[in-house]
Symmetry: C5
Subunit: 387 residues, 5 copies
Amino acid sequence: MVKESRKLSAKAQKFAAETPEDSYFEYFYDDAGAMPGTLSIPEDALPTEIELIDYRDVEAVRIPIEKPEDCIPYLDMASVSWVDVRGLGSEDILRRIGQVFHLHPLALEDVVNVPQRPKVEEYAEQIVLITRMVIANQDSEGFTSEQVSFVLGKNYLLTIQEEPKRDCFERVRERICQNKGSIRKHGPDYLAYALIDAIIDGFFPVLERYGELIEELEDEVVDKPTRQTLEKIHNVRRELLSLRRAIWPQRDAINTLIRDGSDMISPDVLIYLRDCYDHSVQILDMVETYRELASSLMDIYLSSVSNRMNEIMKVLTIISTIFIPLTFIVGVYGMNFNTEKSPYSMPELNWYWGYPLCWLIMLTIALSLLFYFWKRGWFENTQNLRR
Amino acid sequence: MVKESRKLSAKAQKFAAETPEDSYFEYFYDDAGAMPGTLSIPEDALPTEIELIDYRDVEAVRIPIEKPEDCIPYLDMASVSWVDVRGLGSEDILRRIGQVFHLHPLALEDVVNVPQRPKVEEYAEQIVLITRMVIANQDSEGFTSEQVSFVLGKNYLLTIQEEPKRDCFERVRERICQNKGSIRKHGPDYLAYALIDAIIDGFFPVLERYGELIEELEDEVVDKPTRQTLEKIHNVRRELLSLRRAIWPQRDAINTLIRDGSDMISPDVLIYLRDCYDHSVQILDMVETYRELASSLMDIYLSSVSNRMNEIMKVLTIISTIFIPLTFIVGVYGMNFNTEKSPYSMPELNWYWGYPLCWLIMLTIALSLLFYFWKRGWFENTQNLRR
Amino acid sequence: MVKESRKLSAKAQKFAAETPEDSYFEYFYDDAGAMPGTLSIPEDALPTEIELIDYRDVEAVRIPIEKPEDCIPYLDMASVSWVDVRGLGSEDILRRIGQVFHLHPLALEDVVNVPQRPKVEEYAEQIVLITRMVIANQDSEGFTSEQVSFVLGKNYLLTIQEEPKRDCFERVRERICQNKGSIRKHGPDYLAYALIDAIIDGFFPVLERYGELIEELEDEVVDKPTRQTLEKIHNVRRELLSLRRAIWPQRDAINTLIRDGSDMISPDVLIYLRDCYDHSVQILDMVETYRELASSLMDIYLSSVSNRMNEIMKVLTIISTIFIPLTFIVGVYGMNFNTEKSPYSMPELNWYWGYPLCWLIMLTIALSLLFYFWKRGWFENTQNLRR
Amino acid sequence: MVKESRKLSAKAQKFAAETPEDSYFEYFYDDAGAMPGTLSIPEDALPTEIELIDYRDVEAVRIPIEKPEDCIPYLDMASVSWVDVRGLGSEDILRRIGQVFHLHPLALEDVVNVPQRPKVEEYAEQIVLITRMVIANQDSEGFTSEQVSFVLGKNYLLTIQEEPKRDCFERVRERICQNKGSIRKHGPDYLAYALIDAIIDGFFPVLERYGELIEELEDEVVDKPTRQTLEKIHNVRRELLSLRRAIWPQRDAINTLIRDGSDMISPDVLIYLRDCYDHSVQILDMVETYRELASSLMDIYLSSVSNRMNEIMKVLTIISTIFIPLTFIVGVYGMNFNTEKSPYSMPELNWYWGYPLCWLIMLTIALSLLFYFWKRGWFENTQNLRR
Amino acid sequence: MVKESRKLSAKAQKFAAETPEDSYFEYFYDDAGAMPGTLSIPEDALPTEIELIDYRDVEAVRIPIEKPEDCIPYLDMASVSWVDVRGLGSEDILRRIGQVFHLHPLALEDVVNVPQRPKVEEYAEQIVLITRMVIANQDSEGFTSEQVSFVLGKNYLLTIQEEPKRDCFERVRERICQNKGSIRKHGPDYLAYALIDAIIDGFFPVLERYGELIEELEDEVVDKPTRQTLEKIHNVRRELLSLRRAIWPQRDAINTLIRDGSDMISPDVLIYLRDCYDHSVQILDMVETYRELASSLMDIYLSSVSNRMNEIMKVLTIISTIFIPLTFIVGVYGMNFNTEKSPYSMPELNWYWGYPLCWLIMLTIALSLLFYFWKRGWFENTQNLRR
C-alpha cells in the first residue's frame, strides 16, 4: 500500500511542481481497476490543518481543531459550524473527517484525489460541491488554481482546500467574526453562498490581467512582432482554455444547485445563488471574448509577419532592380572610355586620392545601409534565432 | 470605507476614460468575499438627478425631484409614475431610492455597480430588467454604451441610467407630455415597452455604421491594403464582439419576460414586446452577418498581402533574370572588342561626350524605376514601418 | 412629418438603389423612441395597386380595385377572396387596407416598413406571415429580393408585395382563372400554400446560378487566379450569407405554422405545407453546402497564390544560381586571356562584326525571356495592380 | 406540356451527365407556381420496368410485370408482395402505379421528381420513405448515387428506383427466393428493413475508398505536393460533403421511423431498425472524421508549399550570398594583377588552353546545377503551370 | 461460405495489421444485403479462451472453461458468475456462447463483428453494452484499442474481449479472488461497474502521453520546426480524433445506462456509475483541450516557417543590398585607377603575393558563410527534402 501511494505521490508531486508554473491542470485518475474510494495522498502535500468557526446570531468562536473528532460537539448545537480543512497531507485525518461527517466513499475520494472536474452531487443528508479557486500570482504572470470542496449539511458546512497557503475567504471570516452584514443571521447555506461567491469573484482579477495582456499584445503584434510574441499568444490561449475548463463546469454545478432546489438551501439563499450564477456566466462570457480576441491576434501576427517580409522584399527589389541594369551598362563599356579623346572621360581615374576616395564612398554606403537595417530591427531576430 | 471606494473609483475612472474610446466593457466585480449589497460609487461619477413624469389619460406632469422621498406621494396615486434616475454619483440618494422603492439589496447592487450583464429578475412585487443602451458617437467613430436598469412595479416605473448625459428616451417623453399616440392610455408596462423599444432601436444606427465601415474596408482591402487596414479590421471585429455581448443577453432577457408572462405585464403589451424581441433578433442577425464579413475581410487582407508580394517578386524576377545573363555575356568579353579591327567595335568609347552620356542614361533609368515604384505605392508602407 | 418621411425615404432610396446591385439587405428600423405603428413610406416607392381575385368552385373573377373599401362586399361572400396589394407608395391606401382588414397596428407596420425578418404571428382572427421572395436578375448576375406579406383570414387572403414589378405568382393566377388542378376547390389556406410554395421554389433557380458560379470559380482559382477571382469569391460568400438570412427564418416560420396548427389551416393543407417545409430545408441545405465550398475555394485561392509565388521564385533561383557563379568566374579572369599566347584566347574580340553580334545575342535573350514571362501571364496582374 | 417536360429533361440530362463524374447532386425543383403533383420525366430516362416478388413462408414467385394493374391480384393475397419499379422513363406507368397503390399526389411527386432529400412521411395507410443509395464506381474513382423510394403498406412493399441498372438488393432477392434465413417468415416491414440495411451497408465500401484516398494523400502532401494534390483534396472534401448530405437526413428518417412507432412496423422489426440506425450513425461518424482529416490535409498542403518555398529561398540565398561578396572583391581589383611583378599573378591568362578551359568549367557548373534542380523536381510544376 | 469469410478475414487482417501502428479504426460492415446475424471471423483471429470467476460473499473460484456449456451449472447458482471470453477466433464457440446466454442474433453480431460504435442496448433479460478499451503501447508511441462487450444478466456478467492478450481487468480479478474491498458483497451490476471503471481509467495514461507529446511539440515547433514536426502534429490530431470517437459514444452509453435506470442495476451502483460518467466527461474534456492545443500548434508551425523564411530573406537582402551598390561603383571605374598618377592607386595589384592573397580572402569569406548557414541548420532540411 505504501508503495502505491508513493507512486501516486510522484505524479502528485509533478502536479504540485508544474501547476504553479504553467497553470494547466490534468484531472486526477486512478490506476485502471483500482478500488473505488482509494485515497491518494501526494508525498509532498502539506500537513492538514483544521479550523472551526462556530457562530450564531449573537456570538462566534474561531478555534483551531487538533483531532477531527473534536468537531462533533459543535455539530449538534443549534449554531452554524464551519469546519475548514486545509491541506491534503494526512490520510488519517482525512479519513477520520470522512467518518465524522459520514461522507460517502466516492465523495471522500473526489475531495481528496485532486484535481477533479467541478460538479455537484446530492446525497441523502448532504450536498457535495467541488469547485476550483483561482488566485492570481502576486509576483509573476499567470495564476495558481486549487480545488475547494464543500460539504453542506443541515447545520454545518465542511470545506476542504487543497493547499493551506492562500485563500480568498479571509473577508468572509471577518464578516462572521466581526458580525458585519447579515451573515450571522443565516444558516450554513448562506455561508456556502458567501464562499462560492468569493471563489467566483476571484476569477475576475485573473481575467482582468488577461484583458490587459491581450491589449499589450495587440500593440506588440502590430508594432514589433517577434518570436516571443507568438509564444505569449499561445500561452494566453492555453491559459484561457484552462480557465474555461475551470469555470464552465462550475457554472453548470451552480445552475444544478439552483434548479434542483434541495431543501437544504432556503429560497432566499437561492436568490443569492442566482446572482452568483450570473457572475459565473459573466466570467465565461469574458473568457470566450478573450479567446476570440487571442485567436484574432494570431491572425494579425501571421499577417504582420507577411507584411514584414513584404517590406524586406521591397527593399531588396528596389535596390536590386535599380542597380542591376546600371551594372549591366557599366559592364558593357567596361568603362574603358578613352581618356585621351575627351577630358570628360573618367577623370577620376587620374586623381591622386581617387582610389582611397572610392573606398571611402563604398564604406559610407555599406555603413549607412547597415545602420538603416539595424534601425528597422532586422538584426534583433537574427541574433536569437537559435536561442 | 472611503479608501475602498477610492480604489474602486480608480477602476471606474478607467472605465469612464476608456469606454468612449475603445467601446469595450468588462463586467463589474466585487472584491472576493465582499458583502453582497455593497455599492461602489466611482469618484468621478456625475451627480445623481431625478426626474418624475406622472401621467394619466387626461394629464401629465414632468417635474425634477430633489429628494427621493418626494416621489412617495406620486406612487400611491392611480396615475402612472415614471421616476428617471440619471447618474450614479450619490450613494446616499441611490440608497434612499432603494428604500423608497423597496429594492432587494442584490437588485440595488446590480443597478449601481455597472456594468452588469443584461438580465431580468422577478421579485415579489417588482420586475428588475438590466439593459445596455448604445449611442453612436456623433463626432468620432465607434459608440458609447451605458447601463439602463428598469424596475417595474404595479403603477410605477423606475429607470436608472449610468450617465446623465444623452439618452434615447426624449421622444418617448414628448409622446407622454404632448399626448401623442396611445401611450397615456396604458400602464407602466407599456411605458417600459416603449423605453426598451427605444433602446433596441438605438442599436440599428450603430450597426449601420459598421455596415458602411465594412463596405469601405472591402474596397480598401483589395485596392490598397496597409497596416492600418489590418488594425481597422481588428477593431471592427472587436467592437462587433462587444455589441454581440450587449445584445445577446438582452434578447434572452426580453424573451424571458415574454415567456414567463408575469401578471405585471398585460397581454396586449406582450404583443408589443414580441415585436421588440423580433427587433433584437434582427440586430443579432446583423451582428453575426457583419462578423462573418469581417472575418472574411481578414482572409482577403492576407491574400492581398500575398498578391502584393507576388507582384514584387515578379518585378524582381523579370528584371533580374533578364539582366543577369546579359551581364554574364558582357563580363565574358570584358567588352574588350578590338577597336582597331573594326569601326563597329564600341565606337562609343571614343565619343567626346561618351562618359557623361553614360551617366545620363544611368540616372534616367534609376529615376524612372524609382518613379515607377513610387507610383505603385511601394514607398508608403516603407516609411511608416516603425510608426 | 413630411421631413421625417423625407429622411426615411432617403434611406429607402439607398435600398432601392443598392439592393439590385449588391443583393444585401439590412433590416428596417424606426428612430429610437418612435411610436409603434408609424408607417415609413419611401418617397420613390411606386404607387400602390390592388387586384382582387375572387373565386369559388364554379367561377372566378379577376378585377383591379381602386379603393380599398371596394373589397368589402367580396369579403363577406362564401367565395375565397385574394386581395393582392402591390407597391408601398401610398400611405393612405395602406392605412385604409389596414382598416378594412382590421390589421393590428404592429402587423401593418411589419407589412409596410420593409425589410423585416421573415416570421409568423398569430392574431385572433388572422395569421400574418412575412416572407422574402427572391428573383434572379435576368440580364445580370445576382438577384433582387422583396418582402411579401400574407394575411390569412377565414375566407380571404391578403398579400402585400413590396414592388409592383415582377412576381412569381403568375402561374398561380392562371391556375385559378383557368381552373387548372384543384385550387378552386380549396379555401384561402390552400391558396396561401400555393403562393408560399411559389416563393420557396423561386429560390432554386437563384441557387442553381450560384452552383454554376462556384463551379466556374473552381476552375478559375486553380488555372488562373487573379484579384478579380478573389472579389468574386467574396461576393459569392456575401450573397450566400444574404440568401441564408432570407431562407433560415422562412423555414422556421413555416415550421411554426405547421406545428402550432391554427384552425384556420385545414389538415390536408398541412400536408402540403409539410412539403413546402421540406423544400425550404433543401434550400438551406444547398446554401450551407455552397458556403462550405466557397470557403474552401478561398483556401485554394490562397494556396494557388502561394504556388505561383513558388514558380516565380523557382525561375529566379534557377537563373540566378546558374549565372552567379559563372559571372564570378568570368570576373576573376577579367577575361583578359592573352590573345597573343594562344589563338583560342577570345578570338571573338577581333572579329569584324563581334560587337554588333554581341548586342544581337543579348537582345535575343532579353526578348525570349520577356516572351516567356508574357506567356506565363506575368504581365497581366502587373498592369491592373492599381486599377 | 411537351415543351415544359423537354425543358425539364434538359436539366435532368445535365444531372444524368454530371452525376457520374462529379457525384454532386442538387435537389429537384418545380418551376415557381407549378401545380403540386406535376411529374417531370427526363427525356433520356430509361424505360420503366416492374418486377414482382410475391412470397410467403412456403413459396416465392418472382415475375416481371407488364401493366401496373397486373399487381392488383397479388396485393389482396395473404402473401407479402414486393413490387420493384426500376427506371423513371414512363409517366403513364408511374401514374398508374400511383393509382394502383393509392399514392398521395405529393408522395408520387417526391418519388418521381428526383433527387429529393431523404425523409419519411406517414400517410393513413402507408409509410413513404425516400432514401439515397450510393454505389462505388467499379472502374473509376467516386460513386454514383440514386434515389430509392419505399412505400410500405399492410401487406406489400413498393420500391421505386431511379435507375434500372445496378442496385444492391440482389442478395436480398436471393434470400427470399432461396429461402435463406428467416426473411420469408416476416412481413413487408422486415423486407423494408432488409433493403434499407442493404442501402446503408452500401455506404461503407464507398467510405472505405475515401479512407484509402486520404491516406494516399497524406503521403503525397508531405512528400511531393503538386497542384493536382490540391485539386484532389478539394474533390475529396466536396464528395464527402455530398455523402454527408445523403446520410444525414437518412439517419434522421430512420430515427423518425423508430421513434414514431407506426403500427405498420412490428416491435421486433424495430429492434432491427435500431441496428440500422446505429450503422447510419457510424457512417456519419466516419464521414465527419474524414472531413476533419481532409481539412487538416489542406493545412499541411499549405505548409508543405511554404516549406518548399523555404528550400528554394535557402538555395538562392546560400549561393547568392556566397558569390556576391566574392564578385565584389573580384571587381575591385578588376583582376588586373600585374603579371610582370609576380609569377603567381594570374598565370592562367597565359595558358594555351586557358579560354576553352574556362568555358568548360562554366558549362560543368551550369549543367550540375540544372541536374540538381531537375533532381529536386523543380522543373515538373514549371512545365504544367498553364496546363 | 468459406470464401466469404476468407474475404472478410482479409479485411480483418488489414485491421489487425494496421491498428497497432496507426491506432485508427474504421467500423465493421457487412456486405450490402447480407443476412442480419452473420458472424465474420477473421482468419488470423486468436483462439477463443473462456475463464469463469464465480464468487459470493464467502468464497470465489477462478477456473478456465473448455466448452461454453460448462458454464450452465454456475449460472443457476445464487453466486455471481463472471464469464470472460477472450479472442474471437472460433465461430463455433461464439455461437454456442450465444445459445447458452440466449443472446439476440443482432447482439451476438455486434459482439463478434468488431469494431462497433460503443452503445448500450436493453433486451428483455439482458443489458448489452459495447465499449472500447485503449491500452498505451509499452515500447512505442500510440495505443492499441480493442472492443470489450458486456452482457449483464440477473446473476451473471458475460464479457467478450477482442484480443486475448492484455487487458486492464487484472486488478479487479485480484480484488475478487483476494476479497479486497466490498466487491464480493455486490451483484454482477457492481462487477460491471468495476470493469467499466477500469476501462475508463485506462484512457487517462494514454491521454497523459499525448499531453506530454504536445508539450514537447510546443518546444519543437518554436525552436526548430522541421517536416517531421508537421507529421507529428498531424498524427497527434488524427489519434486524438480517434480517441474522441471512442470516448464520445462511451460517455453517451453510460449516461443512457444511468438515465434509463434498468431494474438490473441497483440504486447504489447507479451512484458509482455516475462517478464513472464523470470520469468519461473528464476524458472528453481533456481530449477536446488537447485537440485545441494541437490545432493551435499547427498555426504556430505555419508562422514559424514564415518566420524562418523571413530570416532567410533578411540575410539575402542585407548582403545583396550592401554589395550590389558597391559592385556597381567598382564596375564604374573598372578599377582602372591610374597607378602611375598616385602611389595610392591600387598598390595591391603589384604585390608579389597579391593574387594568391585575393584567393585566400575569397575562400575565407565563402567558408565563413557556409559555416554560418550550417550553424543555422539550413543544410538539414535541404538534405532530406526528397527523403
